[in-house]
Amino acid sequence: MTETIAHQDSDDAADLRPGPSPSEASCEGAWVLRAITQLERRLAVQSFPGGGELVIDAAAVTAMDTSGAWLLHRTIRALEARGRAVRVQGLRPEFDALLRLVVARMPAARAPAAAAPGVLERIGRKAWESVLGGIGLLAFVGECAVALARALAQPRRFRWRPILYNVQTAGFEALPITGTLSFLLGIVIAYQGAEQLRLVGANIYIVDLVGLSMVRELSPLITAIIVAGRSGSAYTAQIGTMKVTEEIDALRTVGVAPMDQLVLPKLLALVVALPLLTVYTDAMGIFGGMIMARAQLDVSFPTFLDRLDEAVSLKSYLIGVGKAPVFAAIIALVGCYRGFQVTGSAESVGRQTTVSVVQSIFLVILIDALFSIAFSWLDL
């Protein structure tokens, strides 16, 4: 087999046209993939008038690949459907074999694709998916609680190494980014406030503005949002990829509960790390405000710190830091839950990671709003 069969570099235009008599047709040229489009267009307008037998002389076919063979076969079928008895002759043996292979394997006419769902159906499906997602998340929280209770009953079930490792990656390694952003946020708030306060000559209240807003609201929130983007996404991607590669199943078969190994350490580590990060970002934010206050409003550092003591009560400070563990739990649970929702494909990992970050940030802000309402009811 030394000659090329399917791929001659000839550019003979492929064609199938009626012959001198109605019972004859001739087929020629290179019936290959790159000629298919033109060939199909030509065949669509070509008519083979008459009835009865049609003999296709294919001796002049110079090349053929599977796509060409398929097109020839399809054309013959169409002719036969119109009542012609078609016979191909003169086709080179190797092309003939190819044609026969295609005929033997040719799939039956495929079923029409299911109609695209309508708008209502799509809305319904989406809504139902969200409901199921919500229920799934609740079930997951329950499972986690059970696993945590079991671990508390038998403290040696705690896996300390992954907990410490997660404190390091989600907490310690997040110090530079959270600190920088909080510092910048402090500067921005002080700067915006300075303009207004200078107008009314209430320069010293810059301390109240920066101190309260950072400690009570902004610092816990911005830290949680950064950590959701940094660590929540990582949790989803890690667990999701482990699911794709069947590592989760492998864990289960060697008798390690994925909850104990993967979820609890992340949850506990983040519940410890996020409040600590918040304390740090509180300090960085206020430091940013202090620098701006001195530059813009001539409030010196000692004056600022003196006033800070009165402006920010211990209560406000604890409320701010106290929200952090709740945010941490949300981020860790949503991140891990979305990881477990991954199915099969790489695309699914990406989609669930997106959902994880969006959902945890949404929930963090929602819960923060609920906290504000609750605290104002309780007069805190």
């Binding site: 087999m1 399917a6 298919i36 599977t66 398929w70 292979l101 495929r110 790489a346 695309e347």
Partner: protein
């Protein structure tokens, strides 16, 4: 099969050296694959079969040596320059490497979309044909790779490798991880493809049955070199200790008897 003349060699490997850090994988490997032949690379795990395939399809450069495919040097080609060559060959990866976000039909069709001006309907029909040729049932087309069994995934990968009607197929472990029945199916498929389409096939494999039933010539890789090259019957009578060990273990004998019975 005629003796190889230079123009007859589809793949020509000369003086190939590969190293991973201090580990030497290939040390002066040379062979050539002739047009229309099924050529198999065998050898123990880690002897560099898959690495050699990856080098031949310009995914990874060797430390030294030359690999010519269709008469063109592959070593040192960038993705852009390799494109005209890559359109002329198809590759089936060991684990299928199907795009998990696309259905089987889309996996095959995507290659056609990328490289031909065909319209969507034609592409779908041609994709359905390739899927049928690879031996998959018609209802496999709209399925996603993670809904398929291992054997079906391999066939789908083969369908994608054949999308552009290549002249040369690289198959990395086409039967690894398959049950005997599916593996038999692949044997027949590989031979049919060569016979009907005139393909040249370069594969790496561990599967002795596949070797006995399909391979025209086999190269045994070991100790970084080609230990022996030739038809299975010639290799089976080789005196090289590593080749003997490879072909005359209990599995090797069984596969050989099986192949004889079938002939």
């Amino acid at each position: 099969m005629n003796a190889a003349t230079p123009s007859d060699a589809i793949v020509e490997v000369r003086g190939l050296h590969t190293r991973f850090g201090p580990a030497v994988v290939h040390e002066d490997v040379s062979f050539s694959v002739r047009r229309g032949e099924i050529f198999a690379l065998v050898g123990a795990s880690g002897c560099g079969k898959s690495t050699l395939l990856r080098e031949a399809i310009a995914l990874q450069p060797p430390a030294a040596g030359s690999i010519r495919v269709f008469g063109r040097e592959v070593v040192g080609l960038g993705d852009e320059e390799a494109l005209p060559l890559r359109r002329r060959w198809g590759v089936m990866f060991e684990r299928g490497a199907l795009f998990s976000a696309l259905t089987v039909t889309e996996n095959v069709g995507m290659v056609l979309h990328e490289h031909t001006p065909l319209d969507a309907r034609l592409i779908e029909e041609i994709a359905a044909l390739k899927i049928a040729l690879s031996g998959l049932p018609a209802d496999a087309g709209p399925k996603y790779p993670n809904e398929l069994s291992g054997g079906m995934r391999k066939r789908a990968a083969l369908a994608r490798a054949m999308a552009l009607d290549p002249e040369l197929l690289f198959l990395d472990e086409p039967t690894a991880g398959l049950d005997p029945l599916s593996a038999d199916g692949i044997d027949v498929l590989v031979r049919n493809l060569r016979d009907a389409l005139g393909l040249t096939i370069l594969m790496s494999t561990h599967d002795l049955d596949l070797l006995w039933r399909t391979a025209d010539r086999v190269a045994v890789l070991g100790e970084g070199r080609i230990l022996g090259i030739g038809a299975m019957s010639e290799l089976a009578s080789s005196n090289h200790p590593l080749i003997r060990e490879y072909f005359h273990g209990p599995r090797g004998r069984a596969a050989r008897e099986q192949a004889w019975k079938q002939k």
